[in-house]
């Protein structure tokens, strides 16, 4: 091979390269993805430090969480996708059972039942697990079937996706429900479903949209109304969105400067270190600051999709693609919400918002992506 010839000519330089490559390969680490994720986390931490008003305790605790999440990512990368495929049904089934338990006996926080509190164990949020389990299950389901899948199979898959989504929405946690459903639908799209079906599905959704109004709870309707006219209740429901738009808008192109944001530091911006942290970034670092983040995100998505195309089998490909899409849904819903394009749903900004649970799930997802990218026995031959 040409490469061998090259190696033979420049042995020293290439042996190092070869070894490092081999080391990363053996550790199942995808270097570009790792670098992008670490860069994004680092960039996010800078903004977070400002958003928590220089509160070192919170900053350090987030640092630990991200470190722990990175470890989880590296661990998840060691798992062969084939193993995940075998375990998919079980994980999915267990998740559904846990969701039912949450609804019946969960711990409440802010008016929603999302947690399971077991003595001696950290609090556990089953809906978070479903963000991984649903794409896994859907991918495993379609991996068994030929391409393009039959219509009946599509409906079964829709049911598989819909059940946990409905259970989560009932907690109620609309944000997570959307993300879970989105992760499943992403896999469905990648499974090679006929475009005609996709089109039909989209049209059905559009038709069902008005009906959605009637099943929504009052506060959810309020959020939708607020999106269209936040000024109707500027001190109540409209407050968050008005203030976040002011924060982003007043940042301009270059921003007010790190730690100089008045909206966030004077507490006009609610949830400034969690769901609305992008507004802090927009205010302090401006349009350019957000563009840097969006670029990092887009590179991660691109790398994720590339890894997906390199997947060893249909399951690995669909799972990787699905997880990448979930990540994108995360960031799109969050930014669109804060920028006043979507109603307010509780979706954090991936890798940047304060909090451990979503970071953990995301990192586990990236770990799976790395596993897909590095567990390719066929290519080694």
């Amino acid at each position: 091979m040409a490469q061998r010839d090259f190696v033979r000519r420049m042995p020293d330089a290439n042996t190092t390269f070869e070894r490092r490559q081999a080391l990363l390969w053996r550790l199942h680490i995808d270097l570009p993805l790792l670098v992008l994720v670490v860069l994004t986390c680092g960039y996010g931490l800078v903004v977070l430090y400002s958003a928590v008003d220089g509160n070192v305790d919170r900053f350090v605790s987030q640092l630990y969480r991200l470190g722990a999440a990175l470890l989880v990512m590296l661990c998840a990368a060691q798992i062969d996708p084939m193993t995940l495929r075998r375990w998919a049904s079980l994980i999915y089934g267990a998740g559904i059972v846990l969701l039912v338990i949450v609804l019946l006996a969960g711990t409440s926080a802010k008016g929603a039942q999302r947690w399971i509190d077991l003595p001696g164990l950290p609090r556990f949020q089953p809906s978070e697990m479903m963000k991984l389990a649903v794409p896994m299950m859907t991918a495993a389901f379609f991996a068994e079937r030929s391409v393009p899948p039959k219509t009946s199979a599509v409906f079964v898959a829709l049911a598989l996706i819909g059940l946990p989504a409905v259970l989560i929405a009932a907690q109620p946690d609309l944000g997570t429900a959307i993300l879970v459903a989105g992760s499943g639908l992403a896999v469905l799209l990648l499974s090679g479903v006929r475009w005609s079906l996709v089109a039909a599905g989209l049209m059905a959704c559009a038709a069902a949209l008005p009906g959605l109004w009637y099943v929504m709870k009052d506060y959810q309707r309020q959020r939708v109304l607020t999106l269209f006219d936040p000024e109707s209740d500027p001190l109540g429901a409209g407050w968050n969105i008005i203030q976040s738009k002011i924060a982003i808008g007043s940042g301009g192109v270059f921003g007010k400067g790190l730690f100089q944001g008045t909206q966030s530091h004077l507490d006009f911006l609610p949830e400034s270190h969690t769901d609305f942290i992008i507004a802090v970034m927009g205010e302090e670092l401006g349009l350019l600051g957000i563009l840097v983040l969006l670029s990092l995100y887009f590179l991660i998505v691109t790398r994720g999709l590339f890894i997906a195309t390199q997947g060893q089998d249909a399951f690995a490909r669909m799972l990787a693609g699905g997880l990448t899409l979930t990540f994108f849904t995360y960031l799109f819903v969050n930014i669109a919400m804060v920028a006043g394009l979507l109603p307010v749903v509780g979706v954090p900004l991936p890798l940047v918002s304060y909090g451990g649970t979503s970071a953990l799930t995301l990192m586990a997802g990236f770990g799976i992506l790395m596993a897909v990218g590095t567990h390719r026995r066929l290519l080694r031959a």
Binding site: L189, S250, G252, T262, D267, A339
Partner: protein
């Protein structure tokens, strides 16, 4: 067909997958682009708008109330000052649960249901957003402490330090000084909204009202950065307020105190003026009230008590009490007759005790009339004054006629107002032909002349007007305008008023002779029956200076409706009002005074001793020192 084909072409599947991923990647790119467009809209296109709103959010311009100017008496003693108080205020917008907050506060500082009701009323009268609404004006030390400890449970509740008006003399000067009151929504309609943006009180009456602009000062402001809960994070810049100007009045605390003491609890009014300057040395309306009550927000019960009191403590008799001048008007009519040549000092009449108009059988009685007798015999002008002969003045009034009486006496301020800085003073009434036709629809009858000649009938004066007229008399015609203000650190136009043209007589000696006649009222004594001055027996026996005076009685027109009195009181209140006007020393007057005692009966017996006490207090240093002693005690 599909059922039979179980073989899978992995290459084809991978290619389909890659195709989908490519399409997806484009879709995601497009979605990213939508986000970027939105950010471009917010951060570039609408940048200016959002910057403005963010500044508005954080920067609040807070007005700073100026300290109200202080008021001093002529000796520099404080009579209206400011007291720092800690008041409890609530910013409605920052309170999450108003009911719970009020309940907790009620527990901490013992709010009464009435206070809460008043607060809710004030809170409904919306003003600027985030403006604190007062809940309790004065907090005690321990109450402040309790509120401070529970601060975290009371968002939007603040303890605010502010200066409020304080009248150290309380009731003594209520009617002389006026007072301030809380600004009402109606006030805000006409007040400068910027100047008064931090001011809670405005001059309600008297000097406080008249010199409002000077006393108020100028509002300052500071731009502060606040957080979302309205807490001030830092002050960005500050324009300090300009305190109001201090004002010194002609009033003399000791004289005021002596005047109140002289009235000895009787209803009435006293106005003392320095004739040379027109400065009001004392102004009493008895009973008074404590003006401090109105500042803290008076409770309805106390207010109703004051309002419905038959003695009308809220009514300023000195300025707004309008009474017939009675015989105190006679010296002015006499001067009119002298000026018009209708009489002189030697002309006499024979007084049978009554007067009859030509071709009229009705007998207009003198006060000395008795069935089957009476009358004062031969009466000349001087005696007509010191014996207060009605008959003589009936004759003079008939000779003069209403037109000439009005023309001559109006420059003394009758039916007019000469005062400079005494708001709300009533005009009195100087009736004439036009007035009678307009108001009564009747012509002026000859009988009306007779009433006017002795200061009865329709004519009305206030104690202030009479004191002013007497001052002009004491000045021998030099007209002065009564004023409260003596000095100020502000260049007020009231300090430089153009003098009025004097009242000149063709025969200037007539003023001196009139003063002599009025001295007789007080000093002519030890004569045969019917020849002593009317006031001699009451004030003239033991007096250290020459005092010119004139008594008067004012017929009581009617008891105001709605005033409930028992029969004995009704009887008392039908008695005539007693007047006495005086000035002293007669040759070089330093003080002129008008005393009114409501339902006092005889002017000489009741009002003259009061007038003498006031003059004594002013002219005799010993008594002044006694009064000083009382102050210090």
């Amino acid at each position: 067909m599909a059922d039979t084909l179980t073989l899978r072409n992995h290459d084809v599947e991978a290619r389909i997958f890659t195709g989908r991923v490519m399409i997806l990647w484009l879709v995601l790119g497009l979605a990213m682009f939508v986000l970027v467009l939105r950010l471009y809209q917010l951060q570039v296109l609408e940048y200016a708008r959002h910057v403005a709103r963010s500044e508005q959010n954080r920067i609040e311009v807070q007005p700073l109330a100026p300290t109200r100017g202080q008021v001093f008496d002529r000796h520099g003693r404080l009579i209206a000052g400011n007291l720092p108080v800690f008041s409890l205020t609530v910013v409605r917008e920052r309170v999450e649960d108003l009911d719970a907050t009020l309940a907790l506060l009620a527990e901490l500082v013992g709010l009464t249901p009435e206070e809460i009701e008043t607060f809710r009323k004030r809170a409904r009268e919306r003003r600027r957003p985030f403006e604190p609404v007062p809940l309790r004006l004065r907090l005690e030390e321990d109450e402040i402490a309790r509120v401070a400890v529970n601060r975290h449970r009371l968002p939007g509740v603040e303890v605010e330090a502010q200066m409020i008006r304080f009248y150290p003399q309380g009731e003594l000067l209520a009617h002389a000084l006026g007072s301030v009151r809380r600004i009402t929504p109606e006030d805000l309609q006409r007040l400068d909204p910027v100047e008064y943006s931090a001011t809670r009180f405005i001059g309600r009456l008297g000097v406080e009202k008249y010199y409002e602009a000077a006393l108020h000062g100028h509002v300052g402001h500071e731009r502060v950065e606040t957080d979302a809960r309205g807490r001030i994070m830092r002050v960005l810049d500050r324009t300090p307020p300009v305190s109001g100007s201090n004002v010194t009045l002609h009033l003399d605390l000791d004289l005021q105190r002596a005047a109140v003491a002289a009235l000895d609890g009787r209803r009435g009014a006293i106005v003392a003026i320095e004739p040379e300057s027109g400065g009001i040395l004392a102004m009493v309306s008895n009973p008074g009230y404590d003006p401090n009550l109105f500042i803290g927000g008076i409770d309805t019960e106390t207010y109703a008590g004051l309002r419905d009191d038959p003695d009308m403590p809220l009514f300023n008799r000195a300025l707004r009490g309008q009474y017939a001048p009675g015989s105190t008007f006679k010296p002015f009519v006499a001067l009119a007759a002298l000026a018009n040549g209708e009489t002189d000092w030697s002309r006499t009449i024979n007084d049978p005790g009554y007067y009859q108009l030509p071709n009229d059988s009705r007998r207009y009685r003198d006060w000395s009339w008795r069935p089957g007798g009476g009358g004062q015999g031969i009466v000349h002008l001087r005696k007509a004054i010191y014996r207060s002969s009605n008959t003589y003045f009936f004759d003079l009034a008939t000779r003069l006629g209403v037109d000439r009486i009005v023309e001559f006496t109006r420059p003394f301020g009758f039916g007019d107002h000469l005062e400079i800085d005494v708001p709300d003073a009533a005009n009195g009434l100087m009736p004439d032909r036009q007035w009678k036709r307009r108001v009564r629809g009747e012509p002026w009858y000859p009988g009306d002349n007779l009433n006017l000649g002795i200061g009865q009938g329709d004519m009305l004066v206030t104690p202030l007007q009479l004191a002013t007229a007497v001052s002009i008399l004491a000045n021998r015609g030099a007209r002065v305008r009564p004023r409260m203000i003596l000095a100020s650190d502000a260049p007020l136009p009231e300090l430089e008023t153009a003098p009025l043209p004097p009242i000149e007589l063709a025969e200037p000696a007539n003023f001196e002779l009139m003063v002599d006649a009025m001295e007789d009222v007080v000093h002519r004594g030890n004569q045969v029956y019917g020849e002593n001055g009317t006031a001699w027996a009451y004030v003239g026996r033991d007096i250290a200076y020459r005092m010119a005076g004139k008594s008067g009685t004012a017929q009581v027109v009617e008891i105001p409706q709605g005033v409930k009195l028992d029969p004995e009181e009704v009887e008392e209140r039908r008695r005539e009002h007693a007047w006495f006007v005086a000035f002293a020393p007669a040759d070089a007057p330093k003080i002129a005074v008008a005393v009114l005692v409501e339902n006092g009966g005889g002017g000489s017996s009741t009002a003259a001793p009061v007038a003498k006490s006031v003059l004594d207090a002013w002219l005799l240093p010993g008594i002044d020192e006694d009064a000083q002693q009382l102050v210090t005690n």
